[in-house]
C-alpha cells in the first residue's frame, strides 16, 4: 500500500508540482495518472521511489516512510519498487540479459556486484522474467538491436527480475507506435493480474487509460482534481482534468 500524507512539492523556482496530495493506493490496483504535461504526473510518480524529493508531507510504502529513509534502508525500499521509463533507460551497449540482471543488484553485496558475480538462481529469475514478456530468445542480443517495443518489454523484465511488489511506469508508451503500445500495456495488465503487482502508470492517451486502469487519478497544476474508479471517469471529467475539451490527439484510437 502506498500512502500520500499531505504531500507537496515546490521547486526552487517557485513552481508547485504537487499540492497537498493525500491519497492511498491499495495492493493490486492498476492506477493510471492523467493530466496535461506539467501537471505534476512525473513528480507524483517519482516521489514514490524518491527519484524526486518532496518538500512537505510524507509518503509511506507498506507503512514505512520512504521520505525519511536513509542509506541502505532507502536502497532496500527502492528495491521493492520497479520503474519503467518513457525512454526505456537500458544500457544500449549491454546484452538484454545483463540489463535484466541489473534489476538484481539490490540483493547482493557491493563487492560481488563489482565483480559481476550473479548466482545461478538470478540468471534463472532473469530468464523467467524475459519469458513473461516473451523475449527469452533475445536474451543474448545487444539491447540496441531490439525495437522500441521490445526494449520497453526488456525494461519490464528488469522490474520483474527485481521482484518488486509495485511498478511505477512513467509514460511507458509515449515513444511507441499503437501496435507496440498495446503489447506493452497488455504485458503490464497481465503482470498486474497474474502476480497481483500494483501498477501506477502515467499516461497521455485517454482511451488507453480507460481500457487498462481500474482507477484514474487526475492531476491539474499539482492538485488531485479527480480520483475514482475508471467507470466514473467520463468525458466531462477528463475535460475538467485537462481544463478544456478533450483533443483528438489525446486518443490513440485503433486499439
Amino acid at each position: 500500500m502506498i500512502e500520500f500524507n499531505h504531500v507537496s512539492k515546490v521547486y526552487p523556482n517557485g513552481t508547485t508540482a504537487l499540492n497537498e496530495v493525500d491519497l492511498q493506493i491499495e495492493d493490486g490496483e492498476f492506477v493510471v495518472v492523467v493530466g496535461l504535461s506539467g501537471a505534476g504526473k512525473s513528480t507524483f510518480l517519482r516521489s514514490i521511489n524518491r527519484l524526486h524529493e518532496v518538500t512537505e508531507g510524507e509518503i509511506l510504502i507498506n507503512g514505512e516512510s520512504i521520505t525519511k529513509a536513509r542509506g541502505s534502508s532507502l536502497y532496500r525500499m527502492r528495491r521493492e519498487i520497479g520503474m519503467i521509463f518513457q525512454n526505456f533507460n537500458l544500457v544500449r551497449r549491454s546484452s538484454v540479459m545483463r540489463n535484466v540482471l541489473s534489476g538484481r543488484v539490490g540483493y547482493h553485496s557491493t563487492l560481488r556486484m563489482i565483480l559481476g558475480l550473479f548466482p545461478r538462481e538470478d540468471k534463472d529469475i532473469a530468464m523467467q522474467a524475459l519469458e513473461r514478456v516473451n523475449l527469452q530468445e533475445k536474451a543474448y542480443s545487444r539491447a540496441d538491436e531490439l525495437s522500441g517495443g521490445q526494449q520497453q518489454r526488456v525494461s519490464i523484465a528488469r522490474a520483474l527480475a527485481q521482484e518488486a511488489k509495485l511498478i511505477l511506469a512513467d509514460e511507458p508508451v509515449a515513444s511507441l507506435d499503437p501496435m507496440t503500445t498495446k503489447q506493452v500495456m497488455d504485458d503490464l495488465a497481465r503482470i498486474n493480474k497474474e502476480l497481483n503487482m500494483t501498477m501506477v502508470v502515467n499516461l497521455h492517451f485517454i482511451d488507453v487509460a480507460r481500457q487498462y486502469a481500474t482507477r484514474i487519478i487526475g492531476l491539474r497544476e499539482g492538485e488531485v482534481v479527480f480520483d475514482g474508479p475508471v467507470g466514473q471517469a467520463t468525458d466531462e471529467i477528463f475535460s475538467d482534468i485537462y481544463g478544456r475539451p478533450v483533443h483528438k490527439d489525446e486518443m490513440l484510437g485503433e486499439m
Binding site: 527502492r78 526505456f88 533507460n89 544500457v91 551497449r93 534489476g103 543488484v105 539490490g106 557491493t110
Partner: protein, 267 residues
C-alpha cells in the same frame, strides 16, 4: 503548459548574416601569425640559408646502416615495454580519477573541482620534464621513463575519458537509482558499461602516443631507444640514426595499424 497559438511575425524577412565576422577572423589570425613571427625573430632568409645544410644531412642519412638493426632491437623492445607499463599504470589511475572529475557522476563541487585541478596540473607538465624529474629521483634507466609515461598517459586518457563520461546517457543511471543500487553498484551497472569501449579506445590511443614519446625519453636518461639517438647524433653516425628512424617508423606503423583496427572494432 498552456497552448498558445503561434504568432505569425509581421516583420520583414531576416537579413543574411553579415560578412564582417569571417573577415575579422582572418584579420585576427594574420595579426597573430605575423606578430608571433616578428616576436621570435623568424626570417625566411635564415630558412633558405639552412636548406643546403638540411640537404647534406639528408644525404648522410642514406643509406641506413642495416647491420645496426640487431643491436638496437633490445632498446627498441625496452621502449615498447616502457610504453606498455606506463600506459597501463596511467590508465588504471585515469579511470577512477575521471569518474571523480565528472559532474554527472559526482554532483558535489568539492569532489569534481579538485579532481579536475589535479588533472589539469598533470597535463600541464610535459613528458620530457617529468622524465628528467624522475631520473633525478630514481636514477638513470627505464624506471623513471615508465613513471613519466604513466603521468603523461594519465593526463591524456583522463582528459578525453572524463569528457566522454560526462556525455553519457543519464537514463541507465536513473534506472539504477530506481533499482536501489548504492553508489558503487550504480556506477558498475549504470556508468561503466556505457564508457568501457571509449576508455579502451583512449587507452590504445595513449599507447600509440606513448610509443613515440618513449623514444625521446632516453635523451634525458630515462631508458629506451632515445639514448641511442643521442649517442649516434653525438658521434655524427647518421647512417645509424636513420636505422633507428626506420625502425621506429616500422614499430609505430605496426602499432598504429593494430590499435586503429581494434578501436574500430570497439565502436
Amino acid at each position: 503548459m498552456k497552448e498558445t497559438p503561434v504568432e505569425l511575425s509581421s516583420c520583414t524577412p531576416p537579413m543574411p548574416p553579415s560578412k564582417k565576422k569571417p573577415l575579422f577572423t582572418i584579420f585576427i589570425v594574420l595579426v597573430l601569425v605575423t606578430g608571433s613571427g616578428w616576436q621570435i625573430g623568424f626570417s625566411i632568409t635564415d630558412l633558405t640559408a639552412g636548406l643546403p645544410e638540411m640537404g647534406s644531412l639528408l644525404v648522410q642519412l642514406v643509406p641506413p646502416d642495416w647491420t645496426y638493426f640487431g643491436e638496437v632491437t633490445s632498446p627498441m623492445m625496452e621502449t615498447i615495454q616502457m610504453a606498455v607499463l606506463g600506459t597501463t599504470f596511467g590508465g588504471l589511475i585515469a579511470f577512477p580519477l575521471s569518474m571523480l572529475a565528472a559532474s554527472n557522476i559526482f554532483h558535489t563541487n568539492w569532489i569534481t573541482v579538485p579532481s579536475r585541478l589535479l588533472l589539469n596540473l598533470i597535463r600541464t607538465l610535459p613528458e620530457l620534464l617529468l622524465a628528467a624529474l624522475f631520473v633525478a629521483i630514481f636514477g638513470i634507466g627505464p624506471v623513471p621513463g615508465v613513471f613519466a609515461l604513466m603521468m603523461f598517459s594519465l593526463g591524456i586518457i583522463a582528459k578525453l575519458f572524463f569528457e566522454s563520461v560526462e556525455a553519457i546517457d543519464s537514463g541507465p543511471m536513473e534506472a539504477m537509482t530506481a533499482v536501489g543500487a548504492n553508489k558503487l553498484k550504480w556506477m558498475m551497472f549504470g556508468v561503466v558499461p556505457q564508457v568501457m569501449s571509449s576508455f579502451m579506445s583512449f587507452f590504445l590511443y595513449a599507447f600509440e602516443i606513448n610509443i613515440r614519446a618513449a623514444a625521446v625519453l632516453g635523451l634525458v636518461g630515462a631508458g629506451g631507444i632515445g639514448l641511442y639517438y643521442e649517442q649516434n647524433l653525438g658521434f655524427f653516425e647518421y647512417a645509424r640514426v636513420s636505422t633507428i628512424i626506420v625502425y621506429s617508423l616500422i614499430v609505430v606503423l605496426v602499432i598504429d595499424f593494430l590499435s586503429t583496427r581494434i578501436r574500430e572494432k570497439l565502436q
